[in-house]
Symmetry: C2
Amino acid sequence: MKSKNLQISPAMEDYLETIYLLVGERKVARVKDIAAARGVKPGSVSPAMKKLAAMGLIRYEQREFIDLTPEGEEVARRTLARHELLRRFFHDVLNVSQKNARSDACAMEHYLSDEGVDRLTKFFEFIQRCPRGSKTEFLDRLHHCPLVNPGQPDCDHDCPEVAAMSRTPAVRRSLSDLQPGESGTVAQVDAAGQVRRRLIDRGLIPQTTVEVVRNLPRGSVRILVNGQETSLTTQEATHVVLAP
Amino acid sequence: MKSKNLQISPAMEDYLETIYLLVGERKVARVKDIAAARGVKPGSVSPAMKKLAAMGLIRYEQREFIDLTPEGEEVARRTLARHELLRRFFHDVLNVSQKNARSDACAMEHYLSDEGVDRLTKFFEFIQRCPRGSKTEFLDRLHHCPLVNPGQPDCDHDCPEVAAMSRTPAVRRSLSDLQPGESGTVAQVDAAGQVRRRLIDRGLIPQTTVEVVRNLPRGSVRILVNGQETSLTTQEATHVVLAP
DNA sequence: ATAATCTATTAAGCTCATCTAACAACGTTA
DNA sequence: TAACGTTGTTAGATGAGCTTAATAGATTAT
């Protein structure tokens, strides 16, 4: 009696999820289909099925159709629920492309804690029910806010921030305005493409505190982010908008 | 010249991140410290350091202090930025406990796509800059909304939803009100603890369409969620609030 | 019924990340 | 300088998950 039942691994969860979906759409799951769906070879699937059968998660007789036990179905559904939750968050809330939303969700579904599931669900409940958080009131603003998405039409014709921006576009404090020793809080990374990525990758994300350590020759600054020093060109620093 | 430089693995990213943090707080990273920080044995660290050195990501002479190369530092910082982004989202936005926010972020940081990073950053920029999305206007409401967090004081004394709720608490349509053949959209899972988890795990998350297939004896219903059939007790079904 | 074809299983071997346990280098103290 | 304790390295083993290639069972066509 060897109890190998420590924890179910991401790969095994994926197998269960795949079987669940296959049974749902084609009534039966065969080794070949599972292999194709997961992008692995059939030779990998057989031993995995044995294992799942030994764990009591699938019903599996050699060379027969594969089906989930109630326990396996529970795991599959739970995994799929996490997947859907994450996929929707990335796609519907953050506007990430379907493809990336799906693949991000696919990898992260195995790691999201129960508490995370619960709170993410609450988030959707709020979006759905609070009039101030509802689709038009929050998601549309998020997706169309000209402060964050340059070129978008004004989300709200009485938004003071947007008005301030269009009247005096220069009224903003950026990282390049700080003197050595001064610090501020990042409000926005006002750049796109490579520059944006580079700045974000250095930890310059909103609500982070950043301090200018000293100015370097050749138009660079030495900064302190998350307790670590890095250098930035002054050019790059102008794209880091600070909170007032 | 064997090019083993396919992709950097999660474990290697973790090593780089750990070294980065150690160098930041103690100036030096030693094998022992890295092992302790990652919760592995020193015997696992040495070969990993060899590998990272071969990839040009760390500077490493046997038995000497370990340091990141500029390339390694870039990877470490990028990983850490993802970590912070996710951690903050879970903790600050979703109110997940520090502990879970950290561990969720720690596992997911390796899988979040560039697009996900970008959009999550945009989300924070919006929260920070849009007056309607700002801390008081959005996060506080999210965290204190009595619609979603029972027992919280009213977030806003003229919220029509909350008013409706307190005047006529029975005015709501739940899954148990549907007849076989009818369907609806989940707005909220109005339950806590085990019941909530069970319902969420079955895919009953907000914005999901659910159809009642038929009533079963013994007070159960057969439902269709995400193209799959499941059963629920009528008791459980009453906790699934549907959108009007 | 038999051959051809498809599908599933098995065995051997690979990579990754880890462990344990023996061993080597170094620094400190006696 | 000799001995000891700390730290780092190495070798060998493990386990998960995968591949490939050979083999075995089923199904279909002739």
